[in-house]
């Protein structure tokens, strides 16, 4: 992929890029290259921790708008330079790492909030905006985005779109792909396109959904209209303790046929005894579940009655509102250093989505596969995004630092092997390769196993839109 670069050609290309985005927004400084070489992906962190340098881009560019992105892509196509799009680097799958060198295109200068429209109920913004900033913009007019992942402050709008992100109130309000009305996208050849003015239509396949989740392999999303919502009149929490996971699944499935809570989080016994005990203070044996329901007060009253009746049928112990409120307050604390898993541990989150008939089976199969094949690994999980038809298991493995090889290549091998084992087990039992963290370079090899001959649809799109294969090479299995 990488062209044979010489000093003269490099200088020529650099001047062209400087002309496209401005000298101040085009860098070959070591600090910029290093900074864009390590994202939230465990392997990149481990590599840096061992004092090794991750693959770096040759040039970092920060365009201000679609027109500048277009210029950069035209230059990159002409010289056949790889282009890796970088939002804020909060991804866990290595999707933003410039493994093939070339250009890093950092989107954060495209952070303008163009419009806060309370009639159409959307914010139009550049995709380089940090999501928390558009939440602030919504709050200023008394609204909310209702997209509250733990990475709300870490990630850009484009980053969430690129890998189909999700927030903690998703059960009621949806994933990021439910929150987009319209987008502006720069195609690999530099053409600037817009998707339809409404997200639901019969004008052929949905262009939004072709680019959402494409992880920068098919184009660069530069602008988006993101939905906003009224702030709920009332938001209530209720904690429950189930004696077993089976009862919790049955109760939750039944509940979701009746109404949609905003938060639903079921923790397995291992996570209840560790994270929940530490941060929320529940010191009980069993599976803790937190449910929030919100909206117009009269509706919330009714929903609370339905929730209590439904969960009582399945033997759930009502723990009241205290733990749920504590969880809401501390929901991001889980992810700070000191609370979150960190180096020297080796860890990963294999968020897996499946229908109700399969999800519990997947959980047990993955737990057994990982704990049997990797006795040094601990397996913990919670189920945090629920639908009428199924749920997502946020299943994590953790290997203590003492059991992680110091040699970076050996540590990489261990990490890869656990991931392959876990995700293959999920696929074998009817799961999907990932729910909301995306694919990146981490899971690209498993995409063909997921899709089989259906993969040719993605490959066909890739070949047509990006014939030179410059866009985020070696990601998404493309």
């Amino acid at each position: 992929m990488q062209i044979q670069m010489n000093e003269f050609l490099f200088a020529m290309i650099l001047t062209e890029l400087e002309d496209a985005v401005g000298v101040a927004n085009c860098s070959t400084r070591q600090i910029d290259k290093v900074t864009h070489s390590v994202d939230y992906y465990w392997l990149s962190r481990m590599w840096a921790d061992r004092g090794c340098r991750m693959p770096e881009a040759d040039i970092v560019v920060c365009p201000e708008n679609a027109e500048e992105v277009s210029k950069v892509l035209k230059i990159a196509n002409y010289y056949k330079l790889p282009v890796t799009t970088w939002g804020a680097g909060g991804g866990t799958q290595g999707g933003a790492i410039p493994v093939a060198g070339g250009i890093i295109l950092d989107t954060k200068r495209m952070n303008k909030i163009y419009e806060v429209n309370t009639e159409g109920m959307y914010i139009e913004c550049g995709t380089g905006a940090i999501y928390k900033h558009i939440e602030w913009a919504a709050n200023e007019v008394g609204k909310a985005t209702m997209h509250y992942p733990s990475s709300l402050t870490c990630s850009t709008v484009g980053g969430f779109l690129a890998h189909r992100g999700i927030g903690v109130v998703s059960t009621k309000y949806g994933k990021i792909d439910d929150m987009v009305l319209k987008m502006e996208v720069v195609l690999p050849n530099g053409d600037i396109i817009e998707t339809c003015s409404a997200p639901k239509h019969a004008a052929g396949p949905d262009l939004n959904q072709i680019f959402i989740g494409s992880e920068g392999t098919l184009g660069i999303i530069t602008k988006a209209q993101i939905r906003i919502f009224d702030q709920p009149e009332d938001r209530r929490f209720r904690g429950f303790l189930f004696q077993d996971m089976e009862g919790a699944f049955k109760a939750s499935r039944e509940l979701l046929q009746k109404f949609k809570p905003s938060v639903m989080r079921l923790y397995d016994e291992a996570e209840t005894a560790s994270l929940i005990k530490k941060i929320v203070g529940v010191e009980r044996k069993g599976a803790f579940m937190n449910v929030a329901y919100e909206g117009v007060k009269e509706m919330v009253d009714v929903e609370e009655k339905i929730l209590l009746e439904t969960f009582a049928k399945y033997g759930a112990e009502d723990l009241g509102s205290e733990y749920g409120e504590k969880w809401w307050k501390e929901k991001i604390t889980f992810f700070y250093p000191g609370h979150m898993m960190d180096i020297p541990q080796c860890f990963g989150t294999m968020d897996t989505i499946a229908p109700y008939g399969k999800i519990e089976e997947i959980y047990w199969a993955m737990k057994e596969a990982i704990e049997t094949n990797f006795p040094q690994a601990k397996f913990i999980a919670h189920f945090s995004h629920w639908y009428e038809w199924g749920a997502m298991v946020y299943d994590r493995f953790i290997v203590d630092g003492k059991d992680v090889p110091q040699d970076p290549v050996e540590a990489l091998r261990l990490h890869q092997a656990i991931w392959t084992c876990g995700v293959r087990t999920a696929l074998a039992h009817g799961g999907v390769v990932n729910d909301h963290h995306g694919v990146g370079i981490k899971l690209g090899r498993l995409m063909k196993e997921q899709y089989g001959p259906a993969m040719q649809v993605f490959e066909g799109l890739k070949k047509t839109l990006d014939p030179n294969g410059i866009m985020n090479p070696f990601k998404l299995g493309l």
């Binding site: 900074t35 390590v38 061992r50 804020a88 700070y336």
Partner: protein
């Protein structure tokens, strides 16, 4: 690079943490990934692991304004300001400061201010002379006001005159040491400046500190350096709020709609947020920006504008955007450096100092 174990622990915690990505006033203004606490920590951690050279990260180390927004935001108490300042100190000790920083440090040591100024404007010089007699109360102007915004310093004197305060302004005011603390951290030279200043302040019963940056140094940093000041040190804002309460200043509310720009040194470091608001509300109608009080966003300064002027303009413009987003067309400041920064880029919005508001100018 030699670094304390405490700093190394903070560096290694922050290097892979993105949680304060949204809060850095410089990162938000430039859109540059390197202007984040985690990027700075990553760079330092790689220097500590001998994967890159200290010189490669020093420009970025000086792109931090040390406003502490990241520290304030961190639920678990990690402190990027601490390791940034310690890296500056180590670079100074190893002779690896960027040349433009060396110049500023040399100016501080030779003239007491990073700008290398030795004279203030004639109007201020006259006002200082008129207050040179020794009184119990000292008005400490600070180097920013004295050398870079003498009109504002003059107004600060006028406000106290208007209230009938009997006070001294020193012709040869000692620097507080806050600029050296910013540039090279806890070096011997910084401590020596602070000690000299503390000694001079100890000659007075009450010291009214005009610049919040100096107030932070004298009221907070001096303690960290183990330096005592034998005087009652108060911020200018709290002192003036007291004058208003005591009826020594006559307040007439103009009805003007304004927002207030909290200086982080007052709101975050000294936990003083309401005194300035009491003043503002006596003369105007106050509404709030979304990020106010301890959540304030730094709006620029004069020192960093010496070596990254375009970035400081972006920072100030972004804060003005915060104000206009809530419909404001006038911003009241309580920090001379933010006044200068905002004024330099303000187009459709009025920048007013507290002194302007009180004097009706």
């Amino acid at each position: 690079m030699i670094m304390s174990e405490k700093c190394k622990q903070h560096v290694d915690s922050c290097r892979f943490c993105w949680m304060c990505h949204h809060i850095c006033p410089i990162g938000n203004a430039t859109g540059q990934e390197r202007n984040t606490a985690r990027a700075r920590a990553l760079g330092i951690s790689l220097v500590n692991r001998e994967a890159i050279e200290l010189e490669e990260i020093m420009d970025n180390i000086y792109e931090c304004c040390t406003c502490g927004a990241c520290v304030h935001d961190c639920t678990t108490g990690w402190d990027p300001v601490m390791f940034t300042k310690e890296t500056r100190l180590q670079a100074a000790l190893e002779g690896k400061l960027p040349e433009y920083i060396n110049t500023l440090v040399a100016n501080c040591l030779e003239t007491g201010n990073a700008y290398g100024k030795t004279e203030t404007c004639s109007t201020l010089a006259d006002a200082i002379k008129a207050h040179s007699a020794k009184k119990d109360t000292l008005l400490f102007l600070g180097v920013d006001a004295k050398f870079m915004a003498c009109e504002q310093a003059n107004k600060a004197i006028k406000v106290l005159d208007k209230a009938g305060v009997d006070f001294t302004v020193l012709e040869n005011e000692a620097p507080s040491g806050v600029q050296l603390d910013f540039l090279i951290g806890a070096a011997n030279e910084t401590k020596a400046q602070m000690e000299a200043c503390a000694k001079a302040l100890g000659e007075f019963k009450t010291v009214v500190v005009y610049d919040p940056n100096d107030a932070k140094a004298i009221k907070q940093l001096y303690k960290e350096y183990g330096i005592e000041v034998n005087a009652n040190v108060v911020t200018y804002t709290s002192f003036v709020a007291g004058l208003l309460k005591d009826g020594k200043l006559e307040a007439k509310n103009s009805g003007k709609a304004v927002v207030f720009q909290d200086p982080y040194q007052l709101s975050r470091d000294l936990e003083e947020t309401e005194e300035a608001r009491e003043i503002v509300m006596s003369y105007a109608v106050l509404s709030e920006m979304l990020l106010n009080r301890a959540e304030t966003v730094w709006a620029g300064n004069i020192l960093m504008a010496q070596y990254m002027p375009e970035v400081i303009k972006l920072v100030a413009k972004r804060r003005i955007f915060n104000a206009t987003s809530v419909g404001a067309n006038a911003i009241v400041t309580a920090c001379v450096a933010e006044y200068v920064s905002l004024k330099a880029v303000a187009e459709d919005v009025e920048i007013i100092s507290l002194e302007d508001l009180i004097l009706g100018e």
